[in-house]
Symmetry: C2
Subunit: 423 residues, 2 copies
């Protein structure tokens, strides 16, 4: 059995099958670690270290005898031939689970990425951290007031949970936490602009919570621009509703699409390109090939598809593991029903919005729930109670721990300059 992808879905499947001694599982990932993506924005905002939200796969599965880890990038699937391709070789499988997640979507303008990185990987998070902190240092050195203001202007594209969290975190960090640390640049004049194409932020939430979140953002000093189109990010500006806004730092949180390996499936896909799966996650025509997590569009009873969320991926992974275990015993598969635990997003460090069925919470109490849920999951993955302390500390000393501007290249020999004059 082969699992491609060690995100929430893949880890859940693999762990759920730990007791199946007759099964030989190969978990393939191009990374050697599992990433706790919901807190990735805190790495970008210098609150956490990359290691705080990542677990080496070999450590996570060090006790699991029936599982081998393969660090490789799968580039082709041969579904009729039941084999996957990586490193110029083929690997055969009996069961295949594909859960490679999603990546940022520039809607055909991939050249925008250079000027407005997304936030999906550790590398992107440290790059965003580098750009934000460097902008502050350059603003401190800049005597020209207009150029200083450009350096103190941050644009976040996309009003989903990631965009809202990033915009709130930048505003809080720059306008509040760090404001006393800079003497020449007045960080209170920082502009943080959140651009959303729809008519409200957090479109997946009830409208009342969108309004709350928008108010929280404004309280932190974020300018929220809804019904606005962002385009053509470059090294000194971005166009918002056909008007250029001068800025040196742009973060892209505007859209996702399923991972590249999705192209290997010729079956029907949903609007966002996800593979439409059967009620047991199998792919039409291949009953031993399963797709789960962000890459799958799982139909619900009301004719919709489940959203691309961590809880969906985890529950799908666990359910699939149970199904495969039953199948190994000769029992039939059971269809999956998602147990909706609700959705949540945080704005800054003391406010959040939570929507659970008919219950809608916002503010301080929602934030406590957000913290509790995230710590619970993180402790589970990091598998250590101590992490809770470490994390709590890092969280409450936000903006003070990991404020390192680490450069893109490791070579600084004889006379070579560190590129701190610009990006």
């Amino acid at each position: 059995m082969v699992i491609i992808g060690a995100g929430f879905a893949g880890v859940a499947v693999a762990q759920g099958l730990r007791a199946q001694n007759n099964l030989q599982i190969t978990l393939v990932d191009r990374r050697n670690y599992h990433l706790f993506q919901p807190l990735l924005y805190q790495v970008a905002m210098a609150g956490l270290n990359p290691g705080d939200i990542s677990t080496p796969l070999r450590r996570l599965f060090s006790g699991q005898r029936n599982l081998a880890i393969l660090m490789a990038e799968v580039d082709r699937l041969d579904l009729p031939g039941r084999r996957i391709h990586y490193d110029n070789q083929w690997l055969s499988y009996d069961f295949l689970v594909v859960c490679c997640g999603s990546k940022h979507h520039y809607f055909g303008n991939e050249e925008w990425e250079e000027f407005s990185p997304g936030l999906k990987t550790i590398e992107q998070a440290t790059e965003i951290r580098r750009r934000v902190l460097l902008a502050l240092e350059l603003a401190e050195k800049e005597s020209d007031l207009q150029r200083r203001q450009e350096l103190l202007t941050f644009v976040v594209v996309g009003g989903g949970p990631t965009g809202v969290e990033v915009a709130g975190a930048i505003a809080e960090m720059v306008r509040h936490t760090l404001v006393g640390d800079y003497k020449l640049a007045d960080l209170r004049s920082t502009r943080v602009v959140l651009v959303e194409g729809g008519d409200r932020v957090l479109a997946a939430f009830p409208t009342s919570l969108s309004a709350k979140a928008e108010q929280f953002l404004r309280d932190l000093g974020v300018e929220v621009k809804v019904n606005s189109r962002a385009a053509n990010p470059n090294s000194f500006s971005i166009t918002i509703n056909d008007e250029p806004l001068r800025t040196k730092t742009i973060i892209w949180a505007a859209g996702v699409r399923p991972s590249r390996l999705t192209d290997e499936f010729s079956c029907p896909k949903d609007r966002s390109g996800r593979i439409i799966v059967n009620s047991d996650f199998s792919v039409p025509g291949f009953e031993s090939v399963f797709v789960i997590g962000d890459q799958a569009a799982f139909p619900t009873n009301d004719g919709q598809f489940l959203p691309a969320l961590a809880p969906v991926a985890i529950q799908q992974g666990r359910h699939l593991a149970r199904n495969i275990s039953m199948e190994l015993k000769g029992l039939p598969r059971k269809p999956f029903n998602y147990f909706d635990k609700g959705i949540m997003a945080t704005v800054g460090r003391t406010r959040a919005v939570v929507s659970v069925g008919p219950v809608q919470l916002s503010g301080w109490i929602a934030w406590l729930i957000w913290v509790f849920v995230h710590i619970m999951y993180l402790v589970q993955v990091k598998n250590r109670v101590f992490v809770f302390l470490q994390w709590a500390w890092a969280y409450f000393s936000f903006g003070q721990g990991a404020r390192l501007i680490v450069h893109k290249t490791w070579k600084f020999y004889s006379g070579e300059k560190i590129p701190i004059q610009g990006k």
Copy 2:
């Protein structure tokens, strides 16, 4: 007053002058953080996160009113004109303190760095971590036994404290901590080769401690090659005593030279290129220009120069701060006397060597002293008792926390592959 460099020396001067309200200090560094370099090898060996051993300068000095931080790279000095040059502009000073430290020395073969990085910066440490961990992953995938052995061969060039610590840490991590995490590659067959040009490792220590350290290294499975010359590192081998050794991972710890700004001084230098300073750290001919730390050669009474060590830099910084404070009161400068607290180096996680005057310690008790001293200094710089816990935890869970293979570029968009097939 201008201080160039925020290492141990620069931070000590700046902190020592915190009560001098009439002084306007500008602390210039091309980094935005102070690095606790003695533990950098633990970042390279995946034991600690970069943030664990770094303190943002703005946080370190957030309470100090008389100090401004300037993130910039100084590229010229105009000593007669009393000004420094950075970012195409000049900054004038009354007092100047130069303490930019040292960097690796490839003895005119700078092209070697690509294949055998040194260990002086966070970027280099994460690059070494990437190479070591990636070699293990590639070995796990490699079916050709000879190529697998090449991937499991690690060469450390230089038998000083850094080389000894790195070689010991690799051997311990790979041959002991991680050995159970890989199923196909037998990590017990890992070769760690330490190459030293002189006739013993840790040449600055008494010969008996060199012998002890060498024994500790051999106990961990390190092959120690003394009286050996390493040359021509490339992507698949290094030449040791004219014999090529096939390896994919080489780490350079063979020599240091003072930082590039040293070239701006035309006064006499010692054999390793350090600026020979007066007994008050001033430079001949410029009584308000001081050089301290790794960049300075400070003459001792026996005609030698003080070694390039953290304790020397810290004591020099504190002494210089006292001298400048006295001068501001119209009192004369006092000459510096180094209080030698001894030297130490660790080999693996439970053994060390310590030399304090006539006292020589080795083994477990020396290691406890090593731990105590490093925690004391680290807590001082990180300025938080909590760090002690975090650090102790990270230390005792060595090899388990920060095992991330983070890539050199942050851009992974549409179809671009992560370079995990090779370096």
